[in-house]
């Protein structure tokens, strides 16, 4: 395992969750696992930030949640992207890319 905890800006976590949910509805654990897998263990989502973030997104109306059965027939709370959320994801993604590009520019000038 690489670095155990990578601090993330709050906006970043929201973006990651939105992006993860864009593929398919998932429960909280699933989201955390998925972010970990996709980032090849580079990003560990602490549950202390995951659930508050989910709640925040829910309150904004970007994600919606419902109780559904998992493939092995257990009850879990599944989060899904709403239309507003999808739009927000596009905007956040664009903003992130601009941000990264800007940071790259600065790093590149060294």
């Amino acid at each position: 395992m690489t670095q155990k905890s990578t601090d993330m800006l709050r906006g970043t976590l929201d973006l990651l969750i939105l992006r993860t949910l864009a593929d398919a509805p998932l429960h909280g654990w699933g989201i955390a696992q998925r972010i970990q897998e996709v980032s090849r263990e580079a990003l560990q989502v602490g549950q202390g930030s995951l659930y508050p973030a989910l709640q925040r997104l829910e309150e904004k109306g970007w994600v919606d949640a419902e109780w559904k059965a998992t493939p092995d027939n257990r009850r879990a709370r599944y989060y899904r992207l709403t239309t507003t959320g999808r739009r927000a994801l596009r905007q956040e993604e664009a903003a992130w890319r601009r941000y990264v590009a800007a940071v790259d520019l600065i790093l590149g000038t060294r």
């Binding site: 429960h27 909280g28 654990w29 602490g46 109306g61 919606d64 109780w67 239309t83």
Partner: protein
């Protein structure tokens, strides 16, 4: 449903369906943990390890524990326990704060509880020991007796009782009773007790039984003076010891009575003063409780209105119908007795002291005090609320940390409430202690026996009050605490969050000042009234005079034998250290009985009233010395007057004016007037002098004209009333009275009980409401003032702490101390001043309500109002000075560094 709507509903749900939402969250976390554990298991960890790792991964269960726990009702008790422990810890951390809250509430709740215990006994409870007291009725008889009518009714005759017993409907029972003081024992062992004669069925009607022995048989209550038997109240039997047991003998007014029973311990009669001994109604004459001519049965005399009637309403009966049918029964009797008022009336009243028609002023006073104690409690609550709000603000950071760590807002509210409730319950306990102490004060005044006792009911009241207060003052600060924004709380800079809080606290301060001013004005009015009462010159030195009286004749002291005894008594008393003077009189001052005579003025006295009717009294030598009554003209009696050539008299000022209207009082001195039958006999009485007028009732300025005849010359004129010994002592303390009594009682071994009463005691009934009012209002007023001062100090102190930085900046920018003080004064004195003005206005509007307790001053007495205002301003200034000094001592550099 749009996304926005859904989101909105979620937010509403989070508040409205909190429990459901919380339990969903808990389930979600549980699922997460389980998944994590399974993953760890799949990676080859042992189950315990897998779980532990999952917990670590989850970020530590404790971090979420509060949320998880909250959703589980089974854990409520555990929460409570935890909250309590937390509350105790936080209390111990700030002992000064806790002490302030507990002490403040203790005073407020203590006062209210003490007053409630009195009001409870007066208004909510029947006499102790009576079964179903709300069904028990007193029957008051209204009858015009020779022009004197008692509109609220009084006792009736035994004839009335028989008529009502035989004919009235709607009563399951009715019985007569009367109470008198009686003497027990002789000589130095003599004592005065309270005896009650009761008709057949009295105890049965009230549901009272005996602890030992039996109640009266019907025949004992019926055949006159045939059965000398008594039943004792339990407390009295205990005191008598062996003599008080069944078969023992009790001496009542010189007759021996056999004890046949002892009552159940709690019952001591229907009146405020406990009854010691009970005799059957037929034995009332033998026991000296009812007077009758020899050979005559007093029960047959329709004019002898000496018995009180008590009855129990039959199931379903209503008071008006019972009163109407009893009235009809009485009128049938009246038709046969032409000497009586033909239209008597029966009124029904309960036996609950405060609800009776004949309730005393103390019952009204108790209601007043309940209001006053309530006001003090309100002030105390305002103080506590202020303290709690300050504390909540001070703990903003702590709350923010807890919130950000995931504590539920509900949980935070509950925990704050628990803390407040713990404090108020402690305050309630302190209050009960204070009430116990306060009840000692209440017991010094004549109230029902149960009054001022602390029992289960009173404890319940005190605790319920403190719980209620806990919720009332705890909710607002708790909500505020839970509403604090986590991030803002952590970031919080001093003095940025407090505008609205400051306004609330100033409002509370204003309310406190208003209430305190109202109480202070009330206290001022009553204290000034009491001063006015004490300033009364009643023509008698009430502080140093006592009256000794006895039923001399009953013990066989009549005629010359009595005079010998009295002369010896005077000599003996004057030998006592502490006694300045002893003298004889027939009625004496504040006697409660009088006799009027006719005085014919001779033609020689120009402008005289031909026939005047002053009251008569017979006074011995040095009587006026003994009472402290000044001689305004002429002289008082001399010992030589006894054997002088003619009868002599001293008149009081009122009688002098009555005899010769409009003349100076000196003119009657030396005149010879014919008193009563002297005119026919051709003799007259020489007026020696004019004495100051003694009031008949202390508060009644309209004193009677009295002509004092020489008792030395004619000691045997009246067979009723006196004579009495008037004793002037260095101090009229109870100990002095006991000393006088002992000296008198030891004169002869066969003397009856000699009552020694100070004039102070004789007038205390009149003065009681004023004393009680002034004492208790002052007590509560002082309490209110202290609490308001603490409140004022608290608000200001808080303000200074809060603005230390600001004051520091101002000072570093060159602000003078005066400017800083102005800033503070505006904070404190503005609400205090506004409260003062409002309070004075309210007091001015409400002062009339106190009128019954105000004496000798106008209801809007400027002195009382002015003193209250001055007092409050002084306290407000004092409460401002301390924080202000702190503020002007602020070192700018230090203050800024603290920020």
């Amino acid at each position: 449903m749009g996304d926005r709507m859904r989101a909105l509903r979620k937010q509403v749900d989070a508040v409205v369906r909190r429990d459901a939402v919380e339990s969903e969250r808990a389930e979600e976390f549980a699922f997460h943990l389980q998944m994590e554990t399974e993953k760890n298991l799949a990676q080859g960890m042992s189950p315990a390890e897998a779980r532990r790792a999952a917990l670590v991964e989850f970020g530590g269960l404790e971090r979420y524990a509060e949320r998880v726990r909250e959703s589980r009702r089974a854990r409520m008790l555990e929460d409570l326990w935890q909250d309590l422990r937390y509350a105790v810890r936080s209390m111990l951390r700030r002992p000064a704060f806790a002490a302030a809250v507990v002490a403040t509430l203790g005073l407020g709740i203590g006062g209210t509880t003490a007053v409630f215990s009195v009001a409870d006994a007066l208004y909510l409870r029947g006499p102790v020991g009576v079964a179903a007291p709300f069904e028990v009725m007193r029957l008051w008889i209204v009858r015009d007796e020779g022009g004197i009518q008692t509109p609220s009714g009084g006792p009736g005759s035994y004839v009335d009782y028989v008529a009502i017993r035989d004919a009235a409907h709607g009563l399951s029972g009715v019985a007569p009773h009367l109470m008198r003081a009686a003497d027990m024992g002789r000589g130095e062992a003599a004592e005065r007790i309270r005896a009650s004669a009761v008709g057949h069925g009295f105890f049965e009607l009230l549901g009272v039984t005996t602890a030992r022995g039996r109640l009266f048989h019907e025949v004992e209550g019926d055949v006159i003076d045939a059965y000398p038997v008594v039943v004792l109240s339990h407390h009295f039997a205990e005191r008598l010891g062996d003599a008080g047991d069944v078969g023992g003998t009790v001496d009542l007014n010189g007759r021996a009575f056999t004890v046949i029973g002892v009552l159940q311990p709690d019952f001591t009669g229907l009146d405020a003063q406990p009854v010691d001994v009970w005799v059957p109604m037929a034995a009332a004459g033998a026991a000296g409780l009812a007077s009758s001519e020899p050979g005559q049965d007093w029960r047959q005399v329709p004019e002898m209105a000496t018995v009180h009637l008590v009855g129990r309403l039959a199931p379903g009966a209503n008071r008006e119908q019972v009163a109407a049918s009893a009235t009809a029964a009485l009128r049938r009797v009246a038709a046969e007795a032409p000497q009586l008022d033909p239209t008597p009336e029966v009124l029904l009243g309960g036996v609950i002291p405060g609800r009776e028609m004949h309730r005393g002023q103390s019952a009204t006073l108790a209601l007043w005090l309940l209001v006053v104690a309530g006001i003090v409690l309100a002030i105390a609550c305002a103080n506590v609320l202020n303290l709690l709000l300050a504390r909540t603000t001070a703990r903003g950071r702590e709350n923010a940390v807890r919130l950000s760590l995931g504590a539920g807002r509900g949980r935070l509210v509950r925990q704050h409430l628990t803390e407040t409730l713990l404090l108020t319950l402690l305050g309630g306990a302190a209050g009960l202690l204070a009430a116990y102490w306060g009840a000692g004060i209440a017991r010094q005044f004549p109230l029902p026996p149960a009054a001022g006792g602390i029992d289960g009911r009173i404890i319940l009241f005190g605790m319920a009050t403190s719980l209620l207060i806990g919720f009332a003052v705890g909710v607002l600060p708790a909500l505020r605490a839970s509403r604090s924004n986590a991030a803002a709380g952590l970031r919080e800079a001093k003095g940025t969050l407090t505008v609205s809080r400051g306004r609330l606290r100033r409002t509370l301060l204003f309310a406190q000042v208003v209430l305190s001013v109202v109480l202070l004005v009330g206290a001022g009015l009553l204290v000034r009234s009491l001063q006015a009462v004490h300033a009364i010159d009643a023509g008698v030195d009430i502080d140093r005079v006592m009256i000794a009286s006895a039923d001399w004749g009953r013990a066989g002291y009549t005629g010359d034998e009595r005079e010998l005894l009295l002369a010896e008594a005077v000599r003996r008393l004057e030998d006592l250290p502490g006694v300045e003077r002893a003298a004889l009189a027939h009625f004496g001052p504040f006697a409660g009985a009088a006799m009027s005579g006719s005085v014919h003025a001779p033609d020689a006295l120009p402008g005289a009233t031909p026939v005047a009717h002053p009251e008569l009294d017979w006074a011995g030598t040095r009587y006026f010395d003994a009472t402290g009554t000044r001689i305004l003209a002429g002289r008082a009696f001399h010992p030589e007057d006894r054997d002088g050539p003619e009868p002599v008299a001293v008149v009081n000022e009122a009688a002098a004016h009555l005899l010769v209207p409009g003349a100076s009082i000196g003119e009657v001195v030396g005149a010879c007037v014919a008193v009563n039958t002297q005119l026919e006999r051709g003799t007259c009485t020489r007026i020696l002098g004019v004495a100051e007028t003694q009031r008949r009732r202390f508060l009644d300025a309209d004193a009677p004209p009295v002509i004092y005849l020489s008792r030395d010359r004619s000691p045997h004129v009246l067979t009723w009333g006196g004579p009495v010994l008037v004793v002037r002592t260095a101090s009229a303390a109870p100990a002095a009275a006991a000393q006088v009594r002992a000296a008198l009682q030891s004169l002869r071994p066969d003397l009856p009980y000699i009552s020694v009463q100070t004039l102070e005691e004789r007038t205390s009934g009149e003065l009681l409401p004023y004393r009680l009012g002034a004492t208790l209002f002052s007590l509560f007023g002082a309490l209110a003032l202290i609490l308001a001062a603490v409140g004022l100090y608290g608000v200001l102190g808080y303000y200074v702490t809060e603005r230390t930085a600001e004051i520091g900046i101002r000072r570093s920018l060159g602000a003078r101390d005066a400017a800083i003080l102005r800033l503070l004064a505006r904070q404190a004195l503005l609400p205090a001043g506004a409260g003062l003005v409002t309070g004075l206005l309210i007091a001015a509007a409400g002062a009339r309500l106190l009128e019954a307790l105000i004496f000798g001053i106008p209801a809007r007495d400027p002195v009382a109002f002015g003193a209250a205002a001055a007092f409050l301003l002084l306290v407000a200034l004092a409460a401002t000075v301390l924080p202000a000094r702190r503020a002007t001592n602020v070192d700018p550099a230090m203050a800024l560094r603290a920020e």
